[in-house]
Symmetry: C2
Subunit: 665 residues, 2 copies
């Protein structure tokens, strides 16, 4: 009679016991009784930081702050080993995953340590429970009821994150409200931190740069002003009295109306260092966002972050990390990697991915984002020669960063299924997996997620995995093929809007980005245009600067080309663009049929939910196709090629569509 | 081997089958196999509009559009009988309730028909999913995803309502947005109506009076303008093309900034009749709210609705019903019944209760509202002599109304438990039960709800029922004892604010209502004051006009009395007020202890949730007590009587509290 042995007592170990108890009622081996037995001999599953007798201590090795090892001896006894409680929790989750998916423990054991230190969710959640760019209901943070009421959902949230290795949460919007730094709200934040702590999750807050003026009544927020510096030091001291393991600040400054060091003719480094100095005595970090661009659009928006940050490489304190979006514009369906990656060897850079789906169909379009993440992570910057991938920038190995991090902008809300679309749970999951190990393949992630979420039946796994893996390319095709970008509707970015023009900010309009005319389409970012290309390594300049060598997926990102331009497959640009839009629609429709055929593998409620969202996606893919092709056809002045459906409405119809109360604004 | 027989096929009958299947896995007799057997002989439970062979057809009787009868023969076979499918559904729910609570079918059978025709929930939900005065998360209506995605929650909502007899839902806010009357939104509303229909629930919308101008570009919304009349007729025709069984409009006009007939010097009857004429050909009704009062506060706010409506008694079309809040101010913890009840014999009046808890602690304070509802419903108007209760006005029996209705302002949101506080489900439940039968006692409702929600164990039922039944009086005591009213914080009405004064509307301030000074406290509504009392029957004028005869719970509602005024128990007004505040606090604390002691009867998650809310309530009860007593003590200039705890903070502290982002605004 075997049993489970969990050595020691702590809040985290209590969570491990609860997880094992929950699992025992479900998928664990029925022959594994759930007596937490302290008699070593009897145990068949041992969760312990100490080496059980009869085991070779060297087999465990050193596992760091978060690593773990699963070991199995000849008698089939499994040891989940780690140096810390949180390592044991991660190991337990992995053990359970291997059980549930039927993989089992490899004979040689299983070892894992995260490649990135800080694996963080960013919540763009406002204190009034609205969300910016959140599409799955209201914010799960009920600030009004905190700190007195700790909702079960906070525990569930922490548990879900821990199970996929996420170890940090910025609970407030980057468009920040200084109020969260007041005692009233710090007490509330501390209550959340208390829930997160045993799950190994650190709480961070967003800091509004002008807080010393708004809260402290100072006349300035100048980062070089001693009074301002003292205010932030005092504020940091105060925060750590509430939250002793507070993680630090995430800051959006000098961007889209947010205050920042520019207001005082100071640099981004001056701004970041101000906060870093305040946090330093307590061990906190500053995540300073590179998403800085001017509303006066003096230059190509794609170039501005680089211009703003690259000259200051090496000027940041050692507890600052610069948080860079995956691309230089803004979470487009597809973008080349951000030119800052590889360009700041003296300054730790972290990745900011979006998990939520602004510009990407929001909650109702199935887009498996690990494909996008991996495309970016595996991009070669060439800065230290071939193989200098973005993932190696991020994991610190390329430049020897001592601080590493990844952020994902959360897609979580109060929807019953957390993420609006059931399949968007896979993006939360996949983000966590890639933050742990940026080299994991999208195939592996999709496979794991499907097994953990639905079933191990291959008749279900194979077609649905295929659907997931092609979904990103499909969405790019029906939205922005061939390097098109930012041609969405105004402000809420829901649905097509290639005609958006002449608004108060050029760099928020579509015509600024596609530059379509009878002469052609695309943004010339070569030397003959904005020369954003010069921000990349020479190898990439040579390749991407040549319209014949640039990957066609980036063609219109870097080049303005005529409509009759001939692509590698011999088609004209116009014909290929039209056929790609059609391909996206065709695949979205095929997904509906595929999913319908798999009804018997999924419970009725989830099947119906996903089905109706896939139908919405297919309908909206056609909306995108028709609106964009009718718009661009004005300039291309060519008929639709064979195989592309004729739109049922005129362009004016699509231009007249006005959606109000789109979520996420 | 018995079985269940459900005769016929319809969406409603399919729901009945599903309910029986769900129940079979839970609390139904395990010996009742769930074969839906059409062989009459074998059935032990028969759900049918037809008389089964062997039964006396006269035993069923005529049951109307929604009534049902449960019958049992000597062999123990149960027949759920009705004249309609929806009657069968109501009967099935009652059958299941009697099974679950262990009551069983009485030997003599069970018969029920609703006493009120239209039993309606009012959702003050905005199209962007915010709620006005909703405290349980966001709106459950996801307009953005409608009509393409029908969320399971819409079905669950309809099911819950049908199970308690609610048969109508106004899905939009009374502070109305005309957009909901456009084709885009009518298509969405129609999708909801399709879900509701088989559950016997009719969909209604709120109509913005100025819609002809906003949507139709007319120069006026004057109800006597032929163009306006035609616009509404056309709009009604259009709505019924989308929703053939559309219920009609709920209208808030000439109130708190809403447009209305006053803008054109027309009466409320002119306004209501305009819409009624448009709906009449289709069978729709207008629920025209009496909550009309002027921001210029020319007279006691309590008098204005009566002044506005009573003179027009008999001037309304026969498909208009005037919707009157239970009291003349606004959903206070306690109010005398509204003087319009009994005053309009020629015009159907319906009751508007709030289920949500503006002014009443919002989501976190446990207040069992059926106590409040029943206090109002059983109030005697005396208009046709003693026994002329408000319930008899509402059920139509007093004046022979041909149209009867009750509305409850919903407390439903996206919170996992629907209502924020688990116990606020009891208010939704209780509202439904009283709308079906206004004579049911709060004791019965509490007993039914506890058994259906938690357990039949008397060790749990008795103390918790007691807690529920005393909770309304408790809340009145710690908020507004002895007839005090509307002394809450500004705008969001969360927490105490007796000091609120000098704002842009007198009638939204606290000092307007309590009129405290060194001379005394209370609003003189007798002949020496505003004489709001004259709107009641002479019997009540005589009783309530005399400070010695008025029930002390209404004392300060009708009288301004000195602080040293002696009450029936011999105490001074000041001492009694202080002791009542203390009593409310004591009981709120006792509830925490009571609930804690019952841990073994409730699952851990719900127990913890309720416990933390009860703790919040006890804490906030003390906040109310301290803030109000310190404030009033300035005028009373007397010490706190023995038994009342001394506040730990000064008045200035309480006056300085500023809560931001309070839900429901």
């Amino acid at each position: 009679m075997g049993a489970i042995r969990v050595d020691g007592d702590s809040p985290t170990l209590a969570i491990i016991k609860t997880e094992l108890q929950l699992a025992a009622n479900g998928f664990l081996d029925k022959n594994l009784p759930l007596a937490f037995d302290h008699q070593e001999e009897a145990a068949r599953l041992i969760i312990s930081k100490q080496t059980p007798s009869g085991w070779d201590p060297s087999a465990k090795g050193s596992l760091g702050r978060e690593g773990y090892r699963l070991l199995k001896n000849d008698a089939g006894v499994v040891w989940v080993a780690a140096d810390t409680d949180i390592g044991l929790l991660y190991g337990t989750f992995k053990f359970l995953q291997l059980m549930q998916t039927g993989a089992g423990i490899p004979e040689s054991g299983y070892h894992s340590e995260p490649k990135i230190q800080h694996r963080i969710l960013n919540h763009w959640d406002n204190l009034n429970r609205t969300l910016e760019r959140g599409y799955a209901g209201a914010s799960i943070w009920n600030w009004h009821r905190l700190p007195d009421h700790i909702d079960q959902q906070y525990h569930d949230y922490a548990r879900a994150n821990a199970s996929i290795g996420i170890n940090g949460s910025v609970v407030t919007n980057v468009n920040a409200n200084a109020l969260v730094l007041t005692p009233e709200y710090l007490e509330k934040a501390a209550a959340l931190a208390d829930v997160f702590r045993p799950y190994g999750i650190t709480l961070y807050l967003t800091a509004r740069f002008s807080a010393p003026m708004e809260l402290g009544r100072l006349p300035t927020a100048d980062p070089l002003d001693p009074g301002v510096q003292q205010w932030w030091k005092d504020k940091a001291d105060e925060i750590y009295r509430y939250i002793p393991d507070f993680g630090g600040f995430l800051v959006k400054a000098d961007s889209e109306g947010q205050p920042g060091p520019h207001n005082y003719q100071r640099s981004q480094a001056d701004g970041a260092n101000l906060l870093a100095d305040a946090l330093k005595p307590h061990g906190g970090i500053v995540m300073w966002r590179a998403f800085v661009y001017s509303e006066d659009t003096p230059d190509d928006r794609a170039k501005q972050a680089y211009q703003e940050f690259q000259p200051y490489d090496g000027s940041f304190r050692d507890n600052v990390i610069v948080q860079v979006k995956n691309g230089a514009i803004d979470f487009q369906p597809r973008e080349p990697f951000h030119p800052l990656f590889g360009a700041m060897p003296q300054t730790p850079l972290m990745m900011e991915f979006q998990i939520t789906q602004e510009y990407l169909g929001q909650a109702t379009h199935h887009v498996f984002l690990p494909s996008l993440y991996t495309e970016v992570l595996q991009s070669d910057t060439y800065v230290n020669g071939p193989g200098s991938t973005v993932s190696k920038v991020i994991d610190g190995s390329l430049h020897g960063y001592s601080l590493t991090a990844m952020a994902g902008v959360s897609n979580i809300g109060t929807d019953r299924n957390w993420t609006g679309h059931h399949f968007h749970q896979a993006n939360w999951f996949g983000y966590g997996r890639l933050a742990w190990d940026p080299e994991i393949s999208p195939e592996t992630i999709a496979d794991e997620w499907l097994r953990l979420t639905f079933t191990n039946a291959p008749e279900f796994i194979e077609p649905v995995k295929k659907m997931m893996l092609q979904s990103h390319e499909m969405a790019v095709n029906y939205m922005t093929p061939l390097g098109l970008h930012h041609i969405m509707a105004w402000s809420h970015h829901y649905g097509p809007g290639p005609w958006v023009t002449d608004r108060h900010r050029d760099d928020w309009t579509s015509t600024y980005y596609h530059k379509a005319s009878e002469n052609g389409v695309g943004f010339d970012r070569t030397a003959s245009g904005s020369n954003a290309l010069e921000q990349y390594a020479p190898e990439l300049q040579a390749q991407w600067g040549d319209p014949k060598r640039v990957p066609e997926k980036y063609l219109l990102w870097f080049h303005h080309v005529p409509w009759e331009y001939t692509l590698q497959n011999g088609r004209t640009l116009w014909d290929e663009m039209a056929l790609r839009y059609q391909k996206g629609v065709d695949e979205a429709r095929q997904n509906v049929a595929t999913w319908e055929s798999l009804e018997s593998y999924v419970d009725e409620e989830r099947h119906a939910h996903v089905f109706s969202f896939l139908e919405i996606q297919a309908k909206e893919a056609a909306w995108w196709r028709d609106a964009c092709l009718l718009y661009f056809q004005q300039f291309a002045q060519s008929p639709l090629p064979e195989g592309v459906e004729k739109p049922e409405k005129e362009l004016e119809y699509f231009m007249g569509i006005r959606h109000r109360y789109v979520p996420g604004n």
